[in-house]
């Protein structure tokens, strides 16, 4: 019986642990590093039809640090997109070029301080084997997929549209960039004759979490509400102000992504809790049947206790104390099991090392007690129905 409690507990506790672990990991990444605002060129008129490219002005980037909510802008990263034909080892290929800054210090107008822009501030998980390309050289970094497909290695020379570049590193981002050739924005601007232009800017801003109030129509707000809305750092307010400083731009929060991830996570958590509940119920059922079996062997005993004068409270107390003992023993065993199980599942399924939490112990103990005590309900009901006159009759 202790065993079945332990298994159920281990299952439940490890699922809960994992679910807490995964959600906190993901939400941490979302909150701390993710860019949550996208600045794009406004598309209007003929540009749409002709497919003519529109750009943002590189000079506007620094203005993101002079808006009202400037203190809440944690990171800004401009990107310039282009294309070229690459030649390596006699193989010709059409590749996408991406101009980036990894970490560039920009002077703030009228201030001595500088501020740092580039992918480091919005996507710090971008990883390079080698060096990021810098602005004064003809260096490029190639995406890891592109590298493995074409056989390009660090230090190789790569021809792009006939010009020679040196591969300074292999980049691993986990995104579309893995298939592209990355270089410094300034280099790309010069190479393609796009001086002072960027295609898009990602902004990571520290924002007030969106609440019901944030979605409210401003035109229907009272004066006090409008004032509150205006001085609250919602992602929408910050986006609106960025749109004002980037010339000809369209700025939108990219919470859709975050929201979807949150939804998936929510569903995953829900599934975990469901599984957890099922496993708890299953082992409670197991305890219940085992207990009833043992009760049937002890019918005489219960009958005698009743004859001697045990009232229902004392019968219940006897069963519950057995339940508590089983629960505590099973809880301990389950706790130990769950640590192992969570580690195993964490590595196998989520590919993430499991972080042990102190809260797991009370969780395990609690679920074990839940299993054993709820498993006692039916046996207790059965025990209370026992008639001593019948069971003590014996053979006559």
């Amino acid at each position: 019986m202790v065993f079945s409690v332990a298994i159920g507990t281990a299952m439940a506790a490890s699922l809960i642990a994992l679910s807490m672990d995964v959600s906190s990991k993901v939400s941490n990444e979302l909150r701390a590093f993710g860019a949550n605002i996208l600045v794009e060129p406004k598309i209007e008129g003929l540009a749409d039809i002709t497919g003519q490219k529109r750009y943002l002005r590189q000079d506007d980037i620094v203005k993101s640090k002079v808006i009202f909510w400037r203190h809440n802008i944690l990171g800004v990263a401009p990107f310039l997109e282009s294309e070229a034909t690459s030649v390596f080892g006699g193989k010709k290929e059409h590749v996408k070029l991406l101009g980036i800054w990894y970490s560039k210090k920009l002077p703030l107008p009228g201030e001595t301080e500088t501020f740092e822009a580039g992918v480091k501030s919005v996507s710090p998980w971008w990883n390079v084997n080698g060096a990021w390309p810098d602005s004064n050289s003809r260096n490029v970094a190639v995406g890891v997929s592109f590298a493995s497909r074409s056989g390009v290695k660090k230090g190789d020379s790569l021809k792009l549209d006939g010009a020679d570049f040196v591969v300074s590193g292999i980049v691993d981002t986990g995104g579309a960039e893995d298939d592209q050739v990355l270089m410094d924005i300034d280099t790309l601007q010069e190479f393609k004759g796009l001086r002072g232009k960027v295609s898009k800017v990602l902004v990571s801003a520290l924002t007030t979490p969106m609440d019901e109030f944030a979605y409210k129509d401003q035109t229907t707000m009272s004066k006090a509400e409008y004032e509150k809305w205006y001085c609250t750092g919602y992602v929408t307010s910050i986006a609106k102000q960025l749109e004002e400083v980037f010339h000809n731009s369209r700025v939108k929060p990219i919470w859709q992504v975050a929201a979807t991830e949150g939804k998936v996570l929510e569903k995953l958590s829900f599934l975990m809790y469901l599984l957890c509940f099922i496993s708890l119920s299953a082992s409670a059922l197991g305890v219940s049947t085992t207990m009833i079996m043992s009760l049937l062997r002890r019918v005489d005993e219960i009958g005698l206790m009743k004859a001697v004068g045990a009232d229902s409270a004392k019968i219940i107390a006897i069963f519950l104390s057995e339940g508590v003992v089983i629960g505590i023993a099973g809880g301990f065993a389950g706790y130990l099991l769950s640590i192992g199980a969570a580690k195993f599942i964490g590595i196998k399924v989520f590919n993430t090392a499991f972080e042990h939490r102190a809260v797991l112990f009370p969780v395990a103990l609690g679920s074990a007690l839940f299993i054993s005590l709820s498993g006692m309900v039916l046996p207790i009901k059965r025990a209370l129905r026992i008639k001593s006159a019948v069971v003590l009759k014996g053979s006559e």
């Binding site: 203190h71 006090a224 509150k228």
Partner: protein, 463 residues
């Protein structure tokens, strides 16, 4: 937002009703068991009496002084009930005192006014605090009527729930778990867990009990030192104080406060389970056992509520300190005074160290006004000293959460590194002088900037 205001108002009402209902049921059960059911009416009159308090509060402007007064009186009324119960529990072994009180309980002349007074004392501060909270809620909302109606609905709903459940409640069963000390302890516990009022510096009573104890320890040790005439010794100033400082640190005092809070209930519990049982006179051994058994089971029953109290306190205590990380931490402002036009804030004293990375607030009362200053250490090691207000929001001040400073009014998180720079929802920086021991601020600097906040000029400039 708007509907959450309504929800909060509803919850405030519901909470008060549930609290009153719970206390009522337990008190009623207790009185029925000791056969003094009629006294329970006076408890209800006490609640009515307490209602005068919020009615009066509604006519007052909401000032920090008022909130301070209310939160003090909530603390005090908790302390009153806790000390009463602790006192009675301590006497739980020798029943003489209890007997005297119970005899007094038998006399309506004594019991009724006492009950009336206690009931009024118990509810008045909470009612007043919640009224203030409702007024603040109503301030955000265009139609305050909705807030008040919602709160009333909460009260009505809570009371209706109790009214509906009244037939199901086994009064004699509940009453058998309570003696007089247990009754007071239960009432104090309800206060401790449900007495917190939003928008007050101590969000719940537990941290305020903690700081209360911390202060008590500090004052006590300080007094002892004064008596021993050692405070000025140079040796003590550095090493010893650092060591003694541990005693005033939040960890130690939290544990110490917990121990002090639980000492008497624990003593009572151990007595209940292990204490000697008087040997009764009876004809047969079985009868003697029966009397002893009844005595012990009654004693254990009466211990259940105390045990619950202990468990609740421990859980609440640790979940509170655990939650401090994820919850908005809003320190209580420490009073500072101006001297010849300068305000001096010590960098370190036995109860605090402003360079420990936590948010510190100080309040200056000047010309009958209260102005708050916040101090926090930035990542680069520099201290940032600002007004506890930004240019645009009403001056509710800031809290601290996960490495950010968060505006209480608009909930906007602000990176600590940007503190000291004006603009946005950042607190307004102050020009200060910092030396080895003190932060020095000109009063005129504070006044000028605080007036600016109050005038709402910052708001105009944004628009």
């Amino acid at each position: 937002m708007s509907s959450s205001v309504i929800y909060e108002a509803f919850w405030v009402g519901l909470k008060e009703a549930l609290k009153a209902g719970l206390v009522w049921i337990v008190l009623f059960s207790f009185l029925q068991v000791i056969d003094r059911k009629k006294l329970s009416g006076f408890f209800l009159y006490g609640i009515l009496l307490a209602l005068i308090c919020p009615l009066y509060v509604f006519t007052l402007p909401v000032t920090p002084q008022l909130k301070e007064l209310i939160s003090r009186s909530i603390d005090t009324s908790f302390a009153l009930f806790f000390i009463l119960s602790a006192f009675l529990l301590a006497h739980g072994s020798g029943m003489n005192l209890l007997g005297a009180i119970e005899r007094a309980f038998g006399k309506t002349v004594i019991a009724a006014p006492v009950l009336l007074l206690l009931s009024a004392l118990y509810f008045a501060p909470d009612f007043a605090g919640n009224s203030v909270f409702l007024m603040e809620l109503a301030e955000v909302k265009e139609s305050p009527a909705a807030v008040y109606i919602s709160a009333t609905a909460g009260i009505v709903f809570g009371l209706a729930a109790f009214y509906a459940a009244r037939k199901k409640i086994r009064v004699d069963f509940i009453g058998s778990f309570f003696g007089l000390p247990q009754l007071f302890l239960f009432i104090a516990m309800i206060k401790l867990l449900g007495g917190g009022i939003k928008g007050f510096s101590g969000i719940s009573l537990i941290p305020s009990v903690q700081t209360g104890f911390m202060k008590f320890f500090h004052d006590f040790v300080h007094q002892v030192f004064v008596i021993l005439m050692v405070p000025d010794h140079p040796l003590l100033k550095t090493t010893a104080w650092n060591f003694i400082g541990i005693l005033f640190g939040p960890n130690f005092s939290s544990v110490a406060a917990l121990a002090a809070l639980l000492a008497i209930p624990m003593l009572f519990l151990s007595h209940s389970f292990l204490g000697p049982v008087p040997e009764p006179e009876a004809e047969t051994p079985a009868d003697r056992r029966k009397i002893k058994g009844l005595f012990m089971s009654d004693r254990k029953r009466k211990a259940v509520s105390v045990l619950l109290f202990v468990i609740f306190i421990v859980v609440a205590w640790f979940s509170e300190s655990g939650e401090n990380i994820s919850k908005l931490y809003i320190p209580k402002p420490r009073p500072v005074v101006e001297d010849k036009g300068t305000v001096m804030i010590p960098l370190k004293d036995p109860t605090m160290d402003v360079r420990d990375g936590a948010l510190y607030k100080f309040s200056l009362s000047y010309r009958g006004e209260e102005m708050r200053i916040l101090v926090i250490k930035k990542d680069d090691g520099k201290l940032s000293v600002c007004l506890d207000a930004c240019e645009i929001c009403p001056p509710r001040g800031y809290g601290q959460k996960q490495g950010f400073v968060v505006c209480i009014y608009c909930n906007t998180p602000i990176p600590v590194a940007t503190l000291g720079q004006p603009g946005g929802c950042n607190p307004i920086p102050l020009h200060v002088l910092i030396d080895d021991n003190f932060i020095r601020i000109d009063v005129s600097e504070i006044l000028q900037k605080w007036d600016y906040v109050k005038s709402g000029k910052g708001k105009e400039s944004v628009k």
